[in-house]
Amino acid sequence: MKVLIQTDRLSKYYGKGGEIKAVDNLDLEVYEGETFGLLGPNGAGKTTAIRLLNCIIKPTSGTARVMGHDILDDDLEVKRVTGLLTESPGLYEKLSAYEFLEFMGALYDVPEDILPRRIEELLKLFGLQKRRDYLLEGYSRGMKQRILIASALIHDPPILFLDEPTSTLDPRAALMVKNLVRKLAEDAGKTIFICSHILPVVEELCDRIGIINKGRLVALGTVDSIKKQTRKDTLEDAFIAITGGVRKKELLSWREQRGTSA
């Protein structure tokens, strides 16, 4: 299988002397057509990894290649072959959905004879055709998320990065986004890289997952293989075993201690 994303000891450190290791020697390969999930607790380095791979920030050391383009030397080309939905992006709320997509398409130099058709197709795909001329300020959160994903696809990139695509959505909007991601992977053959700490989303959508903790990749494989490696029945248990979380019983232990002492 063709490797579309390949990182080579990719690292990003912050603070004096680099004591905060947001991403630490990340070695990873993502294949063409797969949906890959990067899981990790809050602050594990997921968003930093995605920002490095999209050339928003520069690595402290190491590098990565995205569709053969080096993130250090070829940032504009990397951005042309990827679409990214960041965790909480802003919008130009005074634009209509159509105008917004038109503007985003123009930024990618999508030819003028192709752009209107593509906008119509995306509006149809995302169920926003009827409200194409409404200002974005009147859109619900779920609708805004859909228009943002549409804008990440306006130049028809082979790779789509989604950073916490459902974390701020209600269950109905989250389901819609999940169905869209599935459709994009299955029907359009996109390579999708999802960052999330919501385990069911990743479990449901991803062919392979990587678990990142304190900047380091600590597990990699299919959900089943990770469950097997950790000898756990669920991904949640495996995740906690790997990242060192605290179980509910331990959280309530203070009550038992109080009961004993009383």
């Binding site: 928003i56 951005k79 990827t82 960041t86 802003g90 130009y92 005074k94 930024l107 990618y108 990440a152």
Partner: protein, 219 residues
């Protein structure tokens, strides 16, 4: 390519949020009101007074406008939309700078036109009120350029809108006065061209600083 697009987008944003109307109607109205309140301005023609007023009034407007816009967009993660796309960071700032400068300059020209019309209507001879006014206006435009650049720098560096506005009030006036005051300090005979050149140079320095900060900033 992206610079032109971003510039047009900024202008569209100002138009849609009615900033242009408030600016283009508001500035001439304010100077007119100022003239009505202070009727006795001696031998100074109204148009000359406007040209002088524009530097401080228009300048403050420009720098507040651009600072508030940049801080709000930073806080609202609007720049994420551009950082993930093939857009150079410096283009975002340059487009915003020129959009604000063009808008404020048009407002200043409208105000000045009203001044000329008023002076002409009240029986002033064109050679009387044109004399010196155009030079003052060009100096005002040069100060506006500095003011707007100060706004960009503060917008990029300021942690909040409030801090940004305070910094503009503290530093904007002083920095924008550089092109006007330095030629006086040097006692040069060619005041007008030197003031203009100083305005351009100060603007370029401030914008370069803003771009450096913007490129390094983790947004």
């Amino acid at each position: 390519m992206s610079l032109t697009l971003l510039f047009k987008d900024e202008l569209k944003g100002f138009y849609k949020s009615k900033i242009m109307i408030f600016l283009w109607v508001g500035l001439p109205v304010v100077v007119l009101l100022f003239h009505l309140i202070t009727l006795d301005t001696g031998p100074i023609p109204f148009s000359a007074l406007i040209a002088i007023l524009l530097a401080s009034l228009g300048g403050t407007l420009a720098s507040v406008m651009i600072t508030v816009s940049i801080v709000n967009e930073r806080k609202g993660h609007v720049y994420d939309l551009f950082f993930v796309r093939p857009v150079r960071r410096m283009d975002i700032l340059i487009a915003k700078y020129f959009a604000v400068y063009v808008c404020v300059t048009i407002a200043a020209l409208l105000a000045l036109t009203i001044g000329f019309a008023y002076d002409y209507g009240t029986g002033g001879a064109p050679e009387m009120f044109l004399e010196g006014t155009l030079e003052s206006f060009v100096i005002s435009l040069s100060m506006l350029a500095v003011y707007t650049a100060v706004g960009v720098l503060i917008g990029v560096a300021s942690p909040s809108v409030l801090v940004g506005v305070i910094l503009i009030i503290y530093g904007g006036n002083q920095l924008s006065a550089v092109p006007m005051l330095l030629p006086v300090v040097f006692g040069t005979s060619s005041y007008f061209p030197l003031a203009f050149i100083l305005g351009v140079v100060t603007t370029i320095i401030l914008l370069t600083l803003a771009i450096i900060v913007f490129n390094r900033k983790k947004l």
